[in-house]
């Protein structure tokens, strides 16, 4: 089905956060810390205040009133301590964007600078075991005897993979337009993945009841996790509007996104695998070192996919975190699974080579009956079917594993495979369905960040109601609608859709109106391991004179429950794989060890794939009938596409060249080293 909002998007009529016309709008521009650690000794705003158009300057010289328990990232201007370079320490509000930005440079901040520590290393003395990793998993798990499993193995792999810091870089930079009414109610037009969540967070930070705050987000220019929860820019607009007594717009620059909107933590991952003579795993040990800021504990769940993937008598997973003088990391598409599966699936490729076994076969051989850690049964698991179907379509059979021997002109050719997985969860949601003007209006505070939520929910409602989609109008993107969880964790459609189905069923019974809340239904569901799976195949060519890598073909086969809309689903899978290609070959944010912060912070220096990088990507799926998920039988598809792509490409680069690059991204510099 074509996207419902397609016409609005191709004509420029779709309205994003910074674009709502508001009378008397003013502009706030942040001043950012120029040290990585220390204390602000003074902030002199006199020069800025004297500049044309300037209305006010916010800073910790006069801390705005907030709830005492405000989150340290969101509680702007409350503290004099600087936790990372780029942290927002002041802001100027002015009549135009140009005046605000010019005046921001005139704010004089002086610091007492302390030595900083911004480098993640596997032997960092500050590494510790967090209480849990995101969102609620144990930091460590252990079953069986890993040492014994490795000692008894006929083949072992002991390798360390690293992934760099990566930035989501949605095309729309974070933007917020905040409008206070005369009686103290707040309306926030925000680029966010969750209007209910944003409303609750804003209200909590301000110490206001949630009903005094309304968040509107009809269209959002991508997020990939970066807009999952509100970021400091949102609060800046809210506080600046309160201080200035005028509506305030904050549109962060691309450079500022790198500092204050989160990123994927760099990881250092040690994988130890053991296999017997037949290739059956005897032990898996996955240990991860990663970072968070001194402000918050954000513990990426990097080793968790090893708990799901392969049958092994001995399995250990462990996360270690160090708090550095760095910006707070956050969610980026498939947090945990994405970097973790890169390392695990690369190590599996190395194990296949060590055993002398085809890497598809190795994975099929080690497919588990129940979840390897914990032993829960799967609601459905079709990894093997994906691997076999992918191998068939890709022409994998008869592949010569010898590396570095296939040449076409200046290119060496290679192929690689990796598995994908992502949890299939859902959160409680509300929704209503109402008969209006001869059709139905479905209301749910969901957000469509490009996933196609508006279209998918329309189809879900129409199917439930037994009417054509044209007779259903879905209203979303407004926190005044029935409360709903954010679009994240590949849970959006499953969560909102469950409530929409229930509301529509009730409306059918009632004849006029139905309202649903899925909280109890979700609490009551069976304790099963719910995951989607997939297999990705890559064909690459490498020029060993220059180190250039081109991906000639990517194929992904997924098992993700029932696919609600084929056209939208394909776009989601292909989009995830495209981002995975970026991760494999070009994406990296470089920590500036001397000054703190990141040295590359724009789209000329942080490379994401361009059109010319994407030659051929095919995505397909196998039919999966899983009755243990939700009324739609659907698993989320927003994230699994990126999981495994980088490993498939890295494995193909090895097959092409015989060079195993264990540090992403695989750049010419690394191949020529």
């Amino acid at each position: 089905m074509n996207r419902i909002e397609g016409h609005d998007k191709v004509t420029g009529r779709a309205t994003y956060a910074a674009e709502y016309p508001v009378e008397g709008v003013t502009y706030a521009y942040p001043v950012q810390a120029e040290i990585a650690r220390g204390r602000i000794t003074s902030i002199d705003a006199a020069g800025a205040l004297a500049m044309p158009g300037v209305l006010t300057v916010l800073s910790s010289e006069d801390p705005p009133e907030l709830a005492p328990d405000a989150d340290p990232e969101l509680g702007l201007f409350q503290r004099r301590e600087v936790a990372y370079r780029g942290q927002i320490v002041a802001a100027v509000v002015a009549d135009t964007y140009e005046n605000a930005r010019a005046a921001a440079r005139a704010v004089r901040v002086t610091y007492q600078e302390d030595p900083h520590d911004v480098r993640l290393r596997s032997d960092h003395p500050g590494l510790y075991r967090p209480e849990k990793v995101n969102p609620f998993y144990p930091a460590d798990t252990e079953k069986g005897d890993v040492a014994a499993g490795l000692a008894a193995a006929a083949f072992t792999v002991d390798v360390t993979y690293t992934t760099p810091a990566m930035h989501n870089n949605p095309m729309e930079p974070h933007a917020t337009l905040a409008v206070w009414s005369g009686d103290g109610d707040l309306t926030v037009y925000d680029a966010t993945q969750g209007v209910s969540t944003a409303r609750d967070m804003i209200a909590k930070t301000l110490g206001l009841p949630a009903e005094r705050v309304r968040v509107v987000c009809r269209h959002v220019g991508g997020g990939f996790g970066a807009k999952g929860t509100i970021r400091p820019g949102t609060m800046l607009a809210v506080l600046a509007a309160r201080a200035a007594g005028r509506p305030v717009k904050v549109a962060l620059t691309r450079q500022q996104l790198f500092d204050v909107t989160g990123y994927r933590t760099p990881t250092i991952q040690r994988l130890r695998l053991g296999a017997d003579a037949d290739g059956r795993l005897t032990a898996v040990d996955h240990e991860v070192a990663e970072q968070s800021s001194t402000l918050i504990e954000f513990a990426e769940q990097t080793a968790t996919p090893a708990r799901t993937m392969y049958e092994t008598p001995a399995l250990r997973t462990a996360h270690r975190l160090v708090r550095l003088d760095v910006a707070s990391p956050s969610w980026m598409r498939a947090p945990g699974e994405c970097p973790g599966m890169y390392a695990l699936e690369s190590a599996m490729d190395e194990l296949a080579i060590a055993v002398g076994m085809d890497p598809v076969e190795l994975r099929v051989l080690n497919d588990p009956e129940v979840e390897p850690a914990g032993g829960r049964p799967f609601s459905s698991r079709n990894l093997v079917a994906c691997l076999l179907e992918g191998a068939r379509r890709f022409g994998w059979e008869g592949r010569d594993p010898t590396p570095g021997v296939r040449r076409q002109g200046r290119w060496l050719i290679g192929t690689g495979v990796a598995s994908s997985t992502y949890p299939a969860l859902r959160r409680p949601s509300q929704a209503t369905a109402t008969v209006e003007n001869g059709g139905y209006v479905v209301r749910v505070a969901a957000v469509d960040l490009g996933t196609g939520a508006r279209t998918a929910l329309t189809r879900i409602a129409a199917t439930t109601l037994g009417v054509p989609p044209e007779q259903v109008r879905v209203e979303l993107g407004d926190s005044d609608l029935p409360a709903a969880p954010l679009a994240g964790g590949s849970m959006g459609t499953a969560s909102w859709g469950s409530a929409v189905v229930a509301a529509c069923e009730e409306a059918l019974r009632d004849g006029k109106h139905g309202a649903a809340d899925t909280t109890d239904a979700i609490k009551a569901q069976e304790d099963l391991a719910r995951h989607s799976f997939g297999a990705q195949f890559a064909r690459v060519r490498v020029d060993m004179d220059t180190g250039e890598v081109r991906v000639s073909h990517l194929l992904g086969i997924f098992a993700a429950g029932r696919i609600i809309d084929e056209k939208l689903a394909r776009s989601q899978f292909v989009g995830g794989m495209t981002m995975g290609l970026g991760m494999a070959l070009m994406e990296a944010t470089v920590t500036d060890e001397e000054f703190g912060g990141f040295s590359n912070h724009d789209l000329a220096q942080y490379h994401v794939p361009v059109c010319a990088d994407i030659e051929r990507i095919d995505a397909a799926w196998i039919e999966e009938d899983d009755r243990h998920l939700n009324p739609m039988g659907a698993k989320g598809i927003g994230e699994i596409g990126i999981v495994g792509t980088a490993a498939a490409i890295g494995n193909a680069v090895y097959h092409a060249t015989g060079i195993r690059v264990r540090d992403l991204p695989i750049t010419p510099a690394r191949l020529l080293a």
Partner: protein, 323 residues
Amino acid sequence: MRSFEYARAADPADAVARFRPGTMYLGGGTNLVDLMRLGVAEPEYLVDVSRLPLDRVEPDGEGLRVGAAVRNSDLGAHPLVRERYPMLARAVLSGASGQIRNMATVGGNLLQRTRCPYFQDVSKPCNKRLPGSGCPAIDGDHSNLAVLGHSTACVATHPSDMAVALAALDARVHVTGPGGDRVIPMPGLHRLPGDEPGRDTVLEPGELVTAVLLPAPPPGASRYRKVRERASFAFALVSIAAVLDVAGDGTVRECRIALGGVAHAPWRCERAEQALRGARAGEESFGRAADAELAQARPLPRNAHKVPLARNLIVRTLLELAP
């Protein structure tokens, strides 16, 4: 961005007459506006030269005269450039994006500034931006900075593709200024940083590029090749413009080699050219020539890959050009 005055110049003489300290000439703006927004460039007076009547590509004797205001896309698409200087056309088309090539002028392309991350970040020191403040790139993020001709003050690279081809073509840059008109040969417009990295070129204050003259195309086969981290729309890690003319007996009659992405200026490989003239064309002599050139390379800890990359590019490109 600091406030400034803006005026559109009527002709080159008018532009020069308007020049005073704090003035910058505005061409397509694709780098200057970018730098103004970052606070790196803070002109008080912008004199717009983008619409000067310097927008023609026309034959000039055996060569071609390219006006300074010619848009990059028009240069790359010009039939005479494509036919007679395909290396230049390919270099221009390899730069930036279709949109930027539509805006960027030939003069502006020559005078664009380094994309060194420290130069572009006004919160950090940089000798090029703030003389005497230091060069953090030397111990920091220099993975795409210079391996040749850099100094202890600056390791920046010049980012242009077009200039690399012009350096190989022995182009001449015509300028006008308060002191009159003059002609500057390529290479020769761009400087090495030495202890004065703030100066990218030999231009004097107020001088305005009016045209680039291309001499008759050199005999032989030519090629421009660019290596970057993604397939398009990225600055070069290393690029090469090469011309090779091999005599009937298999010896090199003439050759021109220029590298991009390796130095503060387009790097003309004079030592390699010297080593090749009269030598038998082939992998061995090409390798020796590349080694002769790159013996001067002084890679930094995190850009050592540029040396083998440059060597491979020289050898591979010359092999492709050899009959």
